[in-house]
Symmetry: C2
């Protein structure tokens, strides 16, 4: 029994080690894709930047799109991880919406190249890989759609709740194209602006400047 | 005098003819950039699709990025054209904001490949070309920032009004990544949803379902 645990532990360790190695390749590749463009980045560029031989990279990934898939899949897991449980512990729907929005803005801010890759590069994936990512994106968006449906007491047609949830993610994601974290407006304040706008619009905002 | 007018008219005609020819190349190229990606599209692809020899295309453009610049510049002129005068004829700032938003959504809907090229491909331009496009984009965004500053009676810090105007464009632009004009929600209705959200937020919306 003890021996069995040791084997399991060793298996777990080597799995962790493999994930860590893949992850360190992914982080470097995501930065290169963001800087040079996915199509313009070669496996040689990645190998030079990550300081591993091409053969070593091929040990972990069979192609460039496998690296892209790994990056996007890990990013979606990062967005989804624990979110359902967190929402389960929040009672009212406005607070659920606020939690999703602030969390979304905070998480992308720590992984800007990965977040941009989802928006810009995902459509370069072969179809089955793309579908797997789109499936996780839908699952993620559904959590917001559910909170919105709850907020509207189920009286809003579901396509409209879905459109509103896409608009919320759209306004949040667009920020990464122009926001400078070292500029006059910090991310925390920008998250507050986004949330206030989404909840109450500029009319309410005007009366509370 | 008459002869002079004829010369002028002929000059005008040939200028128009040149613009039309450049425009027809631009429309086809924008569709290819959207479908295949800008970097993956060759001048040969464009020449085949537009049914003109490469030599003929070189008569109008010296390089692929000149075609991209022409597309983006024409699109910005399309967005800016007449907007300042239209806004001058609208008295209140809420109506100005509504006008900019509906017009923005209507115009991109007619030129989806060009609108996507602004978001996705503009950063492939050489710096001086990119700056010229960014200058027009800033001018366009400034018209909304001005309407917002007016709406807030000048009591909102200008960086915040600018951030809010970028958020509005961000939410509008994000729509082109998922909206299907033949789906359950038509563009007109979606424009109403965006405007209602931006003005009054989901809280007000909830009370008026």
């Amino acid at each position: 029994m003890e021996r069995h645990s040791v084997i399991e532990k060793n298996g777990e360790d080597s799995k962790n080690k493999e994930f860590k190695r893949k992850n360190s390749i992914g982080i470097v590749a995501a930065r290169l894709f963001d800087k040079k463009g996915y199509l313009e980045t070669s496996l040689k560029d990645i190998s030079t930047e990550v300081k591993l031989s091409k053969g070593c990279i091929y040990h972990y990934f069979t192609s460039k799109h496998e690296i892209l898939y790994f990056i996007l899949d890990a990013y979606m897991d990062h967005l989804l991880g624990g979110l359902e449980e967190e929402l389960g512990n929040i009672a009212d729907n406005s607070s659920k919406i606020k939690h999703i929005m602030f969390r979304h803005l905070m998480l992308y801010n720590n992984k800007v190249p990965e977040a941009r890759a989802i928006l810009v590069d995902a459509n370069n994936l072969p179809e089955e890989y793309y579908k797997a990512i789109a499936f996780k994106q839908k699952k993620y968006a559904q959590l917001l759609t559910d909170a919105l449906s709850g907020f509207f007491d189920g009286r809003m047609p579901v396509e409209k709740s879905r459109a509103i949830s896409y608009i919320l993610f759209g306004m949040s994601n667009s920020i990464m194209h122009w926001h400078n974290p070292d500029g006059p407006i910090k991310l925390e304040e920008l998250s507050e602006i986004c949330y206030d706008l989404f909840m109450n619009g500029i009319t309410h905002y005007k009366n509370n400047i």
